[in-house]
């Protein structure tokens, strides 16, 4: 395996951001489920502890989100997220077809990764949705619930806190589903562990795919 086949995809700042985000979100999901579904007879952990941990992890992930935004602004990493709407549907279809059939026929990936392409079209769309819609939505609603006095009291007779909380829980659920799929798709490759190694050491091995 020579170094020409490796691309330095994940600089240090990005790996730090990703690491904090990953751990933070795991804590948020675990404590969030505990707060939403605990009953006197069943609980994963102490409610009070769950609330405190959720608040701390939430603040940490929110601050960490700034690293993601500024990191992308200051480096060329943002280029990988650029999406062309023209032909997007076709490109998405090709990628879905590859994951559902082509992969099993040992066909080549329709959008092989290179210095210029870090994400396939499916990744682009899902990462954009999660990082620029779901996570900011969670940060904003989460800050609102942390400081409820900031929330508009009533929106057409419906409690503002109620709306914020339902939106927060729904977005949290969508991020949980993203996490499951994200972890699974990351295991697709020559060896299931390759992508996990990459996000730790920074290098993406082209031979590993």
């Amino acid at each position: 395996m020579n170094s020409e086949n490796k691309i330095y995809f994940y600089p240090v700042w990005l790996r730090i951001w990703h690491g904090i985000n990953a751990l933070g979100i795991l804590v948020l999901i675990f404590t969030g489920i505990n707060m939403q579904y605990a009953t006197p007879g069943f609980k994963l952990m102490d409610f009070e502890l769950a609330v405190n941990l959720h608040n701390i992890a939430g603040i940490l992930v929110s601050a960490n989100y700034l690293i993601f935004v500024f990191g992308n602004l200051r480096t060329s990493n943002h280029k990988f997220y650029r999406i062309k709407l023209k032909g997007l549907y076709k490109r998405l279809r090709l990628q879905v077809e590859y994951y559902t059939t082509g992969l099993f026929r040992n066909q080549d990936a329709p959008f092989p990764l290179s210095e210029k392409r870090k994400f396939n079209p499916m990744q682009k769309v899902s990462y954009l949705l999660v990082m620029y819609l779901f996570v900011p939505g969670l940060v904003i609603t989460g800050l609102g619930l942390l400081f409820p006095e900031l929330i508009i009291e009533n929106v057409y007779q419906v409690s503002g806190i109620f709306l914020t909380a339902v939106l927060h829980a729904s977005l949290g659920f969508l991020v949980s589903i993203f996490l499951i799929v994200h972890l699974y798709v990351a295991s697709i490759g020559k060896h299931p562990i390759n992508n996990f190694k990459s996000i730790l050491n920074g290098y993406h091995d082209l031979n590993g795919h």
Partner: protein, 325 residues
């Protein structure tokens, strides 16, 4: 004629219409403003003449002069507040001695025992729904009665002059909470009243509740009695105030699907809204949100379905990868 008067601007502008409109407005204002004083018994006028004012003027029979003095603030009644209370129609002498009609009042009248709530409310079929006897039994178990006995009267919390049956009649949970907590606060945030039954200083409430997350939000949205009483299903408001060691400290009792609040704070609200606006509306129109207590069945189903689909998709993919390896 009335119809044309209402629909045509020109006839509204006529002097006759304008004057009757003005009369109508004045009548409404008059009725509105006079409502509170009308609600009070006219016999109370002579008492309220002094007991609603900061100063009193009387003829001093010894000095033969007109004296103007400050009224004891403890004996000044808020007339409007009284008029909105449950006993608004009562005559003062229904509860106080008729001898108070003489001035200066005889000092010994202060020693006269006042009627207790049960003297009127006990065994009265009209108030059967309030279950005063049961309230009394529950109250006798409470830490207030255990520590102070009979000297802790109903009126220590329920001011006879201003009391309103809020938890039964108000449709605003926030209103119920405020009214209820003010009863507790009248002593627990006032050292001089607190020391009527204790030799100690009142405990600093924000300090002893430091463990409670979002303390201020809890204080505004739930009643003290939510955690500090033993809930009795058959009673509207629980009266067995527990000693502080026995107060509820388990968050999940409220923050769960079968929230305890349904049986306490939201009990009357639930009963009212079920008949009037339906369960969904009553949940949505609540001014507050209790984490964990609100679970929408449809959102739950949809989320479980999405989760199952995601896991099923992944499982099928894993199996296909293993087979094709």
């Amino acid at each position: 004629m009335l119809k044309s008067g209402l629909t045509s601007a020109s006839s509204f502008n006529s002097p006759a219409m304008r004057s009757s409109f003005l009369f109508f407005i004045v009548l409404i204002l008059f009725l509105g403003f006079s409502k509170s004083s009308q609600a009070l018994a006219p016999e109370n006028e002579s008492c309220l003449k002094c007991h609603t004012h900061q100063t009193i003027t009387f003829h001093n029979t010894l000095t033969k002069r007109e004296d103007k003095r400050l009224m004891n603030p403890l004996y000044i009644l808020d007339k409007d507040h009284f008029a909105s209370g449950v006993h608004a129609k009562f005559k003062c002498i229904d509860c106080h001695s008729a001898d108070y009609s003489k001035y200066p009042h005889n000092a010994e009248l202060k020693l006269e025992p006042l009627s207790t709530c049960l003297d009127c409310h006990g065994g009265d079929a009209k108030y059967a729904a309030y279950q005063f006897e049961k309230i009394d039994l529950e109250f006798q178990k409470s830490v207030h009665f255990q520590k102070s006995g009979d000297s802790f009267t109903c009126s220590k919390c329920h001011n006879q002059h201003y009391y309103q049956a809020k938890s039964r009649n108000s449709s605003e949970v926030g209103d119920i909470v405020k009214f209820s907590n003010e009863m507790c606060m009248s002593c627990h945030s006032n050292n001089s009243k607190f020391q009527l039954i204790s030799d100690k200083l009142k405990p600093a409430l924000s300090q002893i509740h430091e463990w409670l997350p979002n303390q201020e939000l809890h204080f505004l949205n739930v009643r003290c009695i939510e955690c500090h009483t033993q809930v009795v299903d058959s009673l509207s408001v629980s009266h067995n105030i527990l000693p502080k060691e026995k107060a509820l400290k388990n968050c999940v009792e409220c923050h769960s699907k079968n929230s305890m609040l349904e049986a306490s704070l939201y009990k009357y609200k639930n009963l009212q809204s079920r008949s009037k606006i339906g369960k969904l509306n009553s949940i949505i129109k609540n001014k507050s949100y209790v984490i964990g207590a609100y679970q929408n069945i449809w959102l739950n189903y949809i989320s479980i379905l999405i989760l199952i689909l995601a896991l099923a998709g992944i499982s099928i993919h894993v199996i296909a990868r293993i087979i094709k390896k």
